[in-house]
């Protein structure tokens, strides 16, 4: 409830709450519990700097997509095509043509190509939904199929290795021992939080997701705003493709398989309402961190993927239940 309305004269206490501390208490508790389990069962291997950096690096690409997804879901939509867009962006940005251009101009060509392709896909999604009046589920399902198909055609179903040294050096750098992509993720979280909670764009997003008709009557250009939201998510998919290309040194049509489910799960666990009108960037961040830490703790303990899958399901339910209890107490 707190996130849906942004009072202009926010009391400091309310401001603290919208920062997500109180609202996300359940998730924080879940994450802390998970870390305690990790510490007890794996000790130093869990607490080591290297391991923490690994968890953050693994959370980065999917995390950026989940932040974008938070905006679309808050705005009352859904996007099933994110994984496919990541794949297409990575493939398009790593073709021999793009890499040759990057050789002449610089690694930035690879990054802008990926983000550009992502935005283009997002705009198509947005236009189909806002002006074509196709329900988001169907429009993005179509994009899921065709974007991945196009990626397969472009890549000829081969894995494309990125040989551009400039790209490798720029994104493989580790200032203060932390990979660049973790800093990028952090920047996206901060920018996402600011955009959603402190700008007109954010307020419009809540309004469109909460009640489209009321938003329209209030003078918001709902259709145009919808296109913006999907384009924003497309951009984050392109950015995620860049991050993935930096980690794996490849572009591939198999990148990002099932990411749509991981991203939606993280967003919903975070407390964003699937029906729109309420959303939290901090919650999404915590959701992503919980999933990534979970896999890490399970691997450290050498548990099978089947056990992981069961635990994932249980934790989704537990986190949401905990969330509801604590939210009720706080409001």
């Amino acid at each position: 409830m707190t996130g849906s309305v942004q009072p202009t004269t926010a009391a400091p206490q309310k401001r603290a709450r919208s920062l997500g501390v109180a609202r996300n208490l359940g998730l924080v508790v879940a994450l802390v519990l998970l870390c305690v389990v990790g510490l007890v069962t794996a000790g130093d291997r869990f607490a080591s700097t290297n391991n923490i950096i690994t968890v953050l690096s693994l959370a980065s690409a999917i995390g950026v997509v989940a932040i974008g997804m938070t905006f679309v879901i808050t705005g009352g939509g859904i996007d099933l095509s994110v994984g496919a867009i990541v794949a297409l962006s990575s493939v398009w940005a790593s073709t021999t043509g793009t890499q040759a251009m990057a050789g002449d101009v610089g690694w930035i060509v690879i990054a802008t190509t990926a983000i550009g392709v992502g935005i283009a896909c997002g705009v198509i999604n947005g236009v189909l939904i806002a002006y074509g009046k196709i329900v988001p589920f169907i429009a993005t399902l179509a994009m899921l199929a065709s974007a991945r198909g196009l990626a397969e055609i472009l890549a000829d179903r081969k894995t494309q290795i990125i040989r551009d040294q400039g790209f490798r050096d720029a994104l493989g750098a580790r200032p203060f021992g932390v990979p660049v992509i973790v800093f990028v993720f952090a920047a996206v979280v901060v920018a996402g939080w600011f955009l959603l909670n402190r700008t007109t764009f954010g307020r419009r997003t809540f309004a469109v997701g909460g009640n489209t008709e009321a938003a329209r009557l209030a003078g918001i250009k709902v259709q145009r705003h919808t296109v913006y939201l999907y384009a924003l998510l497309g951009a984050t998919c392109g950015l995620a493709a860049v991050m993935l290309m930096s980690r794996t040194q490849t572009g591939s049509s198999t990148h990002g398989l099932m990411w749509e489910l991981d991203a939606i799960a993280a967003v919903v666990i975070g407390g964003t309402l699937l029906s729109g009108g309420r959303g939290t960037v901090v919650g999404t961040l915590l959701g992503v961190l919980i999933f990534t830490t979970l896999t890490n703790v399970f691997t450290l303990n050498n548990l099978s993927t089947s056990v992981q899958a069961v635990a994932k399901g249980v934790i989704i339910v537990a986190a949401v239940l905990l969330q509801q209890r604590l939210a009720n107490r706080n409001t």
Binding site: T54, S57, L58, T159, R247, T248, L257, N296, T299, L300
Partner: protein, 349 residues
Amino acid sequence: MSTTTPRRRLLAIGGVLAAATLALSACTNSSDDGDGDGNAANAGAGDNAETGDTVRIGFSAPAADHGWMGAITDAAVKQAEAFDDVELVNAEGTNDVNLQISQVETFINDKVDAIVLLPFDGAAMTDVATRAMEAGIPVINVDREFDSPFAARTTVLGDNYGMGVSAGRYICQQADGSTDAVVAEIAGIDSLPLTQDRSRGFKDALADCGLKVSNRVAAEFTVETGERAAANLLQAAPKIDFLWNHDDDQGVGVMAAIDNAGRDEFVMVGGAGSANVMRSIEADDTVLKATVIYPSTQGADGIKLARLIAQGRSMSDLAEVEVPRIVQLAAPIVTKENVDQYMDSAFES
């Protein structure tokens, strides 16, 4: 003691083959082309490459969404083109079982002379394959087995269990008697029987020299999942001596994760045998020192056998009149020493 399991297996396979071929030769004497007289006649039956009656062969395989699967189809098509007497009817690769069933039904209606089928799901394709056989069209089952022995004339198989054995034996050899070496394993999709077979073979071979898998994770045959699984695995095991990765396609991601973590204290063995990996073994500049082959030429062998069966010919290198019931391909280990030998059959991932 150390070799009983694989050797017994080989004997068993050999026994099955012998029994099957004997049984067949006993009851089918109809396909002689004038050279079916006596034991030695077959040796002089001529080269199988010689052009015979033109035959139409239907080919259906899953979608080429993976380097290895793409290579299967490519190799099969190339093999068919190499023969003047083969007309290949190539159905578009699909992971939809219903569509694949209808593809085979079309082959039956078209009365092709033989069908080479790599099922997406062996169990689901058994029924339609049986119908083809009943319609008098020999079916050559490739890689993923049907449920029923009546559904295929001949089966061409890789050796998943053998891959694990080969990888395990290589590691035993490298460990050189040490029983406290840390062995890690990155499997493919864990729910697939082929992954379970590979892991079982690996475990059995390691047990032979007193080793065991200390850390095991599963990826999903893609670069991205390979990278993710390996990144976590490397944190779980701060020091590794040997690492087996089931699949060279996901191995690209595994290598990236090893690179990101700056680790190089172990020996890594790959799986499937991609050209990238073989080049890297040849260059000998990474932790990757070996891979085990899962032949991507199975489809091509299926085409070769289908042609012979449809033409009613024998395999010229066997004394036996009929084409065998089962052909299981070996899963050899490829190292720097013998990589030249396998480079040509490697697939580009």
